[in-house]
């Protein structure tokens, strides 16, 4: 242990309040996790509210969820899982101090992140075209009619169907708030990746010091985990009827 300490007490990235690089990394990791816990609290509030409203307006949540094209969501889940893999490999490359690999994997992560946001934009455009944005013009002159579909396919009475259709706005509020907040995190992740890419280009990371890449990875994986829950909760509430 004394041998490793002599090599880690004079690293240029070591700030004065820490004894050595190991202690500094431990403190940084703890700090990052505390930040991620505040993120869990923020998303957790949304998830809890979602669950309560889903129990209260289950029919409306099913109708709203079924109106979303599940294929895009499925593709996006795979894209995000792939980006988590490239991120993990980028951290590994940073730890080994291989500059070229760090850059390749960081760029790959950013490309996959951008693909995710692109698909999200297509999905939002679909909802916009269908007049599924909650608010004053919800379903007005819409090309699709949720109430009509409920009468035709589910055998609901017209009164019940129009009430359920009206309430799908609650589902869409959650859909846009949760995926929107998630997309905002993705954009922040891309900014973070750009910063890491520049520092990786300067050759700052190696076996002694790769904490920024490690913590950037924690953030990226956290955003991935949020999506792992969002996909079944928003897209797959009840897909057993028809499409």
């Amino acid at each position: 242990m004394s041998n490793s300490q002599t090599t880690t007490t004079d690293h240029p990235a070591l700030v004065h309040q820490f004894d050595d690089m190991v202690q500094q990394k431990e403190a940084s990791t703890f700090g990052m996790w505390v930040f991620l816990l505040t993120e869990i609290m923020m998303f957790g509030g949304l998830f809890a509210a979602y669950l309560i409203y889903r129990l209260k307006y289950y029919d409306a949540f099913v109708a709203g969820s079924s109106s979303i094209d599940v294929t895009w969501g499925f593709i996006n889940t795979l894209v995000l899982i792939g980006s988590s893999l490239t991120m993990a490999l980028a951290v590994s490359a940073a730890q080994r101090g291989v500059r070229r690999q760090q850059q390749v994997f960081l760029v790959l992560t950013m490309v996959l992140g951008t693909v995710f946001l692109g698909v999200k934009a297509i999905e939002y455009k679909q909802k916009y075209d269908e007049h599924h944005i909650p608010g004053g013009f919800f379903q007005t002159f819409a090309p699709t009619d949720i109430a009509h579909d409920l009468v035709e396919k589910e055998g609901k009475t017209p009164e019940a169907a129009s009430q359920i259709a009206e309430r799908t706005q609650i589902f869409f509020c959650f859909y846009f708030a949760m995926t929107g907040l998630h997309a905002l995190h993705m954009i922040m992740g891309l900014v973070l990746m750009t910063w890491l890419l520049v520092r990786a280009g300067h050759g700052e990371f190696g076996p002694q010091y790769y904490t920024p890449v490690e913590l950037g990875g924690l953030y990226w994986h956290f955003v991935d985990i949020v999506w792992i829950y969002l996909f079944p909760l928003l897209y797959l509430i009840n897909r057993t009827h028809g499409k």
Partner: protein
């Protein structure tokens, strides 16, 4: 060196494979009518996937006890939030005043 050690690339690829299988499984199972089991299975798969990401991609399995405790505390808090909120909303009207 157990603390701060990282898994091999093989572990990363295996976790990735498990995550893809989990995603496909969620997608397929959602189309089969299993009644009340559908959301339970979907959430069980999601929790398994999240656990894999936390343990291996986020290196918690290879981290110090302090990190593990921090992560556990976060999810324990989330459980309190959801359990106590739902224990209220799900039982309203069960006991007549």
């Amino acid at each position: 060196m157990t603390e701060g050690a990282h898994p091999t690339h093989k572990v990363y690829y295996l976790v990735f494979l498990a995550l893809v299988i989990g995603t496909v499984l969620t997608f397929v199972v959602a189309k089969i009518d299993l009644g009340f089991l559908n959301p339970i299975i979907a959430l069980a798969i999601a929790c398994t996937k999240a656990t894999l990401v936390i343990l291996f991609f986020m290196h918690v399995r290879y981290s110090s006890k302090l990190t593990m405790l921090t992560v556990a505390a976060g999810f324990f808090w989330l459980m309190i939030l959801i359990t106590l909120s739902l224990s209220d909303y799900l039982t309203r009207g069960v006991i007549k005043p």
